[in-house]
Amino acid sequence: MRAFAHLLDRLSLTASRNAKLTLIRDHLATTPDPDRGWALAALTGDLSFNAAKPAFIRKAVEARMDAVLFRWSYDYVGDLAETVALVWPARPGANREPELSEVVDALQSASRAEVQRLIETWLDALDPDGRWALLKLMTGGLRVGVSSRLAKQACADLGGVPIGEIEEVWHAVEPPYGDLFAWLEGKSERPSPDAPGRFRPVMLAQAIDEAVDFAKLDPADYAAEWKWDGIRIQAVSERGERRLYTRTGDDISATFPDVLEAMTFEGALDGELIVIRANEKGDRALASFGDLQQRLNRKTVDAKMLSTYPAGIRAYDLLLDGEADLRGLPFAERRKRLEAFVAAAASPRIDLSPLQPFETWEGLAALRAEPPEGDAQLAEGLMLKRWDSVYEPGRPKGPWFKWKRDPHLIDAVLMYAQRGHGKRSSFYSDYTFGVWREDANGDRSLTPVGKAYFGFTDEELKQLDKFVRDNTLERFGPVRSVRANLDFGLVLEVAFEGLQRSTRHKSGVAMRFPRISRIRWDKPSREADELATLERMLGS
């Protein structure tokens, strides 16, 4: 438990992806079975317990110490698990520290009443870091900034295999993954990925480089379709197993019972998860990404959610048709089978992503610039797929391209800057920017509309950092406010993908994927954009 606790402790404060990978890989390499397997399961989200409610933990600690001292401690620390981990009175001579696997075993077999007694015994035996890790595990959700994909990458690093191989066997292995580690350490064969309902590693597209690629590509070789603005999923229904996966193989079936119910087919679809419902004309129409977000990352989903944000699949590829694996067939062939497959499924929740016929790249560019009425206007751009391409996991160069719409651009004024993390901790690298708003008296002031922390080069970062330091107004911990008024200020050209209404932001708008596209050292701050410009974008 101690090694696991230290791992979580380090991960919770580490920003760099590579450093996180090193920490996890080293832990998996040096911790014996089965503890490392349970640690991996905890990190991938395949192990969590709702063994203890916050109220129980609070009661347990107040039985052992003065309630006033506890309250002051909690007020100071602000996090219940961390406070209890720190204030829990040490009991000299308590039992030895439990290993992670002992905790897991006990929790899986104990009754609820026993669990509560066990938790207290463990809290007595552990040090503060161990108590913190235990309480995180007990109350569900480690929140140490590690995705299941990252944990799988660390496994891949441990064994020196591509991550696709881990993803493919993931649903055939179970915690504590003894067979997986034996394979990664070269002691046994790779576990068979043949379990029904398993995930197939997905094929991804390269971003097209307009200046270089089009000259080399023949339009006749490619099919085009809209790039839908949902999330990429794989819907597998195989020998009675129905699963919905994200593109990294995370199982999100539990969040989308409505979609699962519609998967009456036998096969594996590749497509976009979307919210789709009747529009004002009564036609079924794609809803915005914001609507889909209401459905994501929920452990449970209620009837109201299901009816307000009905989810479905817009299918664009077929990997498995009945028992036939289609991945070795060319796209043209798979597409024909897909069309028949979707028609046969005949579900209002599953539709087909239509192909967009075109003759020339110029013609396609015009379509991309002016999408027709309807769903296409919500698309992020276009996808290009070679008619003869087989379904190849990973991101091969050439067969598939994504061609995103040009981003929106606005000129905004730098208002606040915050220190970065890790490598960037000596730089002010997170920038909050604002646009002008006019009040009833005609006075103009800046209102923040977003925050961006990439899009600039290392050299530009140094210049921005210097500007922030030279023009600081006030400091609030890691944040500085920067001189910005009608006569002075730094204008940033900000690119972003979309705009949503937001009640959380004072300006009433929230940007998707904002980044700094240019630093406008030349532009006077008073000439930056107005909030009204953004509001017009919302209306369109």
Binding site: M65, G78, D79, E82, V87, P128
Partner: protein, 344 residues
């Protein structure tokens, strides 16, 4: 009947002794000052006479220049001076080199001013000596039950493990220039780290002073820009906390920001300060040491000088131990040093 406040009482300039006419750790210039230790908030320049241990006098001379006071009166541990019937002796406090508790005796009444102290072993200074007393005047910097400093060895092991895990990066340990920096270096030596440790320029004079007082710090070298950046990969650098997030740190390859402080016990603090590797190492007593000390001394009365006094007062109340807070102002905590200060 003699009352404790006849012997020591709080005044705007600090804790004052009317019969002996001196202050203890005054925050502004006075005629006669007894100084418990060399940290800047306790030891200020400009007094008429300073009574302190020889080590503390040397530290003050190093920091403020040799003319920091009109006259020096050195009192070694265990020695005492008497003035107008008030006897003052200095006893080790275990905080930093030369740190002392001031034991004040008058007409059969004994009061102990702890200054800052800790109870655990520190290889760079003499250990705290408990002195039975009528009134114990304690600090309470970490006077909240959440502050429980782990064993030093575990924290140093965390640092060395990280150095082994990330050989391509450098590790910068932010540590207060007086006491903490030398203790970190010494603990690293005890853990077997015998490579050269690179130090920020602001630490050099105090490092030399510690060595002159018999604390062997092993091979040290300045962390200068003259070296090739990659030459710092896999090395440990010790610097004042303010340098950690400063532009100064950019001369090192992908530095891991470590910070040695009792405040690192609380994760939000570490996160807020951009610390990647918190090292919970403090020169102050943690909650358990504070309460253990009060239990051990069992004084007639407890006074609390500075820190988070309300929780310690509450604890005393639950124990039935008479206690009061003096609410002295002007004592900052050196571990809370202003991070935004941009030192070169």
């Amino acid at each position: 009947m003699l009352k404790p406040q006849d012997l020591l009482c709080p005044r705007p300039a600090g804790l004052y002794c009317p019969p002996g006419d001196f202050y203890i750790d005054p925050v502004r210039p006075v005629d006669r000052a007894v100084i418990t230790h060399g940290h800047a908030d306790h030891a200020r320049a400009g007094h008429g006479v300073v009574t302190a241990t020889p080590e503390t006098l040397a530290i003050m001379g190093e920091r403020y220049g040799q003319d920091f006071t009109g006259r020096r009166q050195a009192v070694a541990y265990g020695e005492s001076v008497t003035r107008d019937g008030v006897e003052v002796s200095l006893v080790p406090a275990g905080h930093v080199l030369g740190s002392a508790q001031a034991v004040v005796r008058w007409k059969g009444l004994t009061m102990v001013v702890s200054g800052d102290y800790k109870r655990r072993r520190d290889p760079t200074c003499a250990p705290f000596e408990p002195v039975p007393c009528d009134v114990f005047i304690t600090e309470a910097t970490f006077g909240l039950p959440v502050f429980r400093h782990p064993p030093d060895g575990e924290e140093i092991a965390k640092l060395l493990k990280s150095v082994a895990q990330f050989p391509e990066r450098s590790h910068i340990v932010g540590a207060y220039a007086l006491g903490k920096a030398q203790r970190v270096i010494k603990l690293l030596r005890e853990a077997g780290w015998d490579r050269t440790i690179y130090v920020h320029g602001a630490l050099e004079r105090l490092n030399r002073l510690y060595e002159a007082h018999g604390v062997d710090l092993g091979p040290l070298a300045p962390a200068t820009v003259a070296r090739n950046k990659d030459a710092f990969a896999g090395e440990i650098i010790v610097a004042p906390p303010s340098a950690l997030l400063d532009r100064w740190s950019r001369r090192f390859p992908e530095p891991v920001a470590a910070f040695a402080s009792g405040w690192m016990r609380v994760r939000a603090r570490a996160r807020q300060k951009g610390v990647e590797l918190p090292l919970i190492l403090s020169d102050h007593a943690d909650w358990d040491e504070l309460t253990m000390t009060l239990d051990e001394l069992a004084p007639g009365e407890v006074w609390i000088t500075h820190g988070r006094e309300e929780a310690l007062l509450r604890w005393c109340e639950l124990r039935g131990l008479p206690a009061k807070a003096l609410a002295l102002v002007g004592y900052e905590d050196e571990e809370e040093e202003d991070w935004s200060a941009e030192t070169a």
